[in-house]
Symmetry: C2
Subunit: 113 residues, 2 copies
DNA sequence: TTTACTACCTTGTATTGCAAACTACTATCT
DNA sequence: AGATAGTAGTTTGCAATACAAGGTAGTAAA
């Protein structure tokens, strides 16, 4: 049982919340999303983000447009849909509740140290 | 894409942290653990907790003893090991960092609302 | 033309929560 | 004594997703 495994498991379900949050702030292409995540100490790799973005797109939570870039290949900017914004609120609530639950259990126990 | 799926995904990796925390407080048998979790609004089912306890036991993070109960079948009390207590500290740190990362991304975006 | 940088993308694997089913011990009732 | 109820322990197969490792393609510069 490795801490790295647990770390990866803890991230499941959380990353889509983060990505939708980023897109609520501004339309972004993948490198920008990854940069935002990395800045917050959340390093995510391509093998994760592309299938995840596809799942979100297939669920109509986001859409995209192509934009020419200034000197490289064109970029695919992802855009939060109205449905995505609604879902994001549900995710916020879900994450909040999970935080409260976990911190209740773990802090309650720590308070006896 | 259902909120229920995301909810289940968000719990992955978190439950072992909660269970080890509960056992740090006091040795417990399964119904007690489930009750503690339920009190904190974290409802966990048998199919989850038994394999999880087995994994933790196989990783030497916990051990157990049998105790007669006052009127029903005997109970299996789980006990946190020294190795388990050390691992728990790592989990606490991992959870803290994840919280900070997620809340940085999501609150930062909310602050622009 | 080749190389380098940028950008997008897929597949297979490992892991774990959940659904659904099961066995067994003890006490009480018929 | 046998059946029922409550309590307690348990497993298997499935679904979902992060990660590792590999890939293609557009544009600019050498």
């Amino acid at each position: 049982m490795k801490i790295e495994n647990t770390k990866a498991q803890m991230r499941k379900g959380v990353l889509e919340y983060c990505i939708l949050s980023i897109l609520k702030e501004r339309d972004s292409y993948v490198a920008e999303i990854l940069e935002n995540l990395k800045t917050a100490q959340l390093i995510v790799v391509e093998g994760t983000i592309y299938p995840l973005l596809n799942r979100l797109k297939n669920a109509d939570l986001l859409t995209y447009r192509w934009e020419e870039s200034t000197g490289g290949p064109p970029r695919k900017y992802y855009i939060l849909t109205t449905k995505g914004a609604v879902f994001l609120e549900e995710l916020a609530s879900t994450w909040d509740n999970l935080q409260k639950a976990v911190n209740t259990i773990t802090n309650k126990n720590n308070s006896h140290e």
